[in-house]
């Protein structure tokens, strides 16, 4: 998958977890919890969805590495290589 594909997959799952968000207006540096208001259950649901979609089981210790879309794309690209 290209980084663009990973980004759009990440954003699609993010918007599914938080349906009021608009993928087009989410900034690459927006923090999932501080800026987008996800709580720990939302984060876990996102991680679960990413696991299902991309096959990457993100360990809890790595949650900070997917804290923003930009960071997540970098982390997931690395993990899927």
């Amino acid at each position: 998958m290209t980084p663009e594909e990973i980004r759009s997959a990440f954003l699609a799952e993010l918007v599914r977890v938080a349906p009021d968000l608009d993928a087009d207006t989410i900034g690459g540096g927006d923090h999932l919890q501080d800026d987008l208001g996800l709580d720990s259950m939302d984060v876990l649901n996102l991680v679960t969805a990413l696991h299902k979609r991309l096959g990457v089981a993100i360990p809890e210790a790595d949650y900070p590495r997917i804290a923003t879309p930009d960071a997540a794309v970098a982390y997931l690209s690395e993990a899927m290589r």
Binding site: A18, P19, L50, H51, A57, A61
Partner: protein, 438 residues
């Protein structure tokens, strides 16, 4: 013959808007079936049927905003003959009265259509197993029942009228069918004060459903609903508060080790441990678990944990997880995930809105140190978990860094005293020290 009526889905719900029927005349329904979707101030709620039978006819039209207690459909019980075009006056039929208020008869759902106090439908086994709960007889506090011949009015409006000393007969109703809403009562009070003609009320409270637009959240209405319920709580419930700091290190370590070995779908959150510990502790201290209604506290025989979920965009809702004390951590976690997903999607069930016997509110990972809550009436306790943090803690003779959490109980002094409250918190502490045993 059962009249299916607009249920009360919370202490201060006055009316709901029917957005969907999931049944048609001739359909067979069972207890627990979702038969309609109603839009409330807290979003769309799926409404369950509380008796088995065959749908005789639908009285309510899609899009109609109906006061709590308004007959919406007629359901013919098994073995009953088909009815003629009966006038839906449930109060006239003793057997119908039992089913006229599907969800929360004991709360404030007594309606203008009813004479005597209704009883909650006996919660026997349905699709989902329902353990026995005390039947909260609507103990008829004066304001909750309309006087004979009075115009239709919502329970909240009647309560407000009593507070303001306004006779309902003098109030002009602006709700559906001329029913009297809180705003009408307040408008009447204002006009009485000014001895002038009543100014049209600009209060949004209670009438959001009359607003056109897509089904969903009206944040102003949601805020008004929260304000109404919390004002009632602060007005009626003599709160007391107790706090305890708990060593969470054992639970934190256990959780990290357990989750490390599991795929995301099987991971637990600390919040599930909190709910389980609180539910088990509530079972041990019945004075914090139940409802205060009709002037008396009735402890519940089961623990249905209302789990406060923050709604995106603002607001809060605390749907109940039934028998939270009996669920395994995995099952409880699954129930919480499901609940949060349905809160996000706007699809909760009516029974979830009213079944709670105690509320658990947790600030999560990025909140404040402690949460001192406001009890959700008619419950008698709310336990708040602050955000866990690493802090200095004395163990033996040394100060060591540990993960701690401050747990705060808000409890109703009409139902318990500090002694019982402290026992409840001590129970949570003890249970959290053995996370595997939860």
């Amino acid at each position: 013959m059962g009249v299916f009526a607009m249920p009360s889905l919370g202490a201060d719900m006055e009316a709901g808007k029917l957005v969907e029927w999931l049944i048609a005349p001739g359909d067979r329904v069972n207890r627990g079936d979702v038969i309609a979707v109603v839009e409330t101030q807290k979003g769309a709620i799926e409404i369950e049927c509380f008796e088995a039978g065959v749908v005789e006819r639908l009285d309510a039209a899609i899009g109609a905003t109906l006061p709590v207690g308004t007959p919406m459909a007629l359901i013919r019980g098994d073995g009953e003959a088909a009815a003629g075009p009966a006038s839906a006056e449930p109060g006239a039929h003793p057997e119908a009265r039992e089913s006229v208020v599907p969800a929360t008869a004991g709360r404030s759902a007594a309606t203008a259509h009813e004479g005597p106090a209704p009883t909650r439908p006996a919660p026997e086994a349905a699709a989902a197993p329902r353990p026995p709960m005390p039947v909260p007889v609507a103990g008829a506090p004066q304001p909750s029942l309309p006087a004979a011949g009075a115009p239709p009015s919502s329970p909240a409006a009647r309560a407000r009228a009593v507070e303001l000393g306004i006779a309902l007969g003098t109030v002009r109703g602006s709700g559906p069918g001329g029913s009297i809403l809180i705003a009408d009562v307040e408008a009447a009070a204002r006009s009485a004060e000014a001895s002038a003609s009543a100014a049209p009320s600009a209060e949004p409270a209670g009438t959001p459903a009359s607003r056109p637009g897509k089904p969903g959240l009206d944040l102003g209405a949601m805020r008004a609903a929260i304000a109404a319920a919390m004002s009632r709580s602060k007005r009626e419930i003599p709160h007391y508060y107790l706090s305890q700091t708990i060593d969470l290190q054992a639970a934190t370590d256990w959780l990290a080790a357990r989750n490390a070995a599991r795929p995301p779908a099987e991971r637990l959150l600390m919040g599930a441990l909190f709910v389980k510990a609180a539910a088990l502790a509530a079972r041990e201290v019945p004075e914090v678990n139940g409802h205060h209604e009709g002037g008396a506290f009735r402890p519940a025989t089961a623990v249905h944990a209302g789990v406060a979920v923050a709604m995106r965009g603002g607001g809060l809702i605390a749907p109940a997880i039934r028998d939270a004390d009996q669920l395994s951590l995995d099952a409880l976690m699954a129930a919480m995930r499901d609940l949060v997903e349905r809160v996000r999607a706007g699809r909760l069930r009516g029974s979830e809105m009213t079944d709670g016997t105690v509320t658990v509110s947790s600030l999560g990972e990025r909140g404040a140190d402690s949460l001192t809550g406001v009890i959700y009436p008619p419950q008698v306790a709310l336990v708040g978990f602050g955000t866990p943090a690493r802090r200095p803690w004395v163990m033996g003779d040394s100060v060591v860094p540990r993960t701690l959490v401050t747990v705060t109980l808000a409890a109703d002094h009409r139902a318990s005293d500090g002694r019982q409250g402290a026992r409840f918190l001590a129970g949570i502490d003890r249970l959290m020290q053995d996370p595997e045993g939860l």
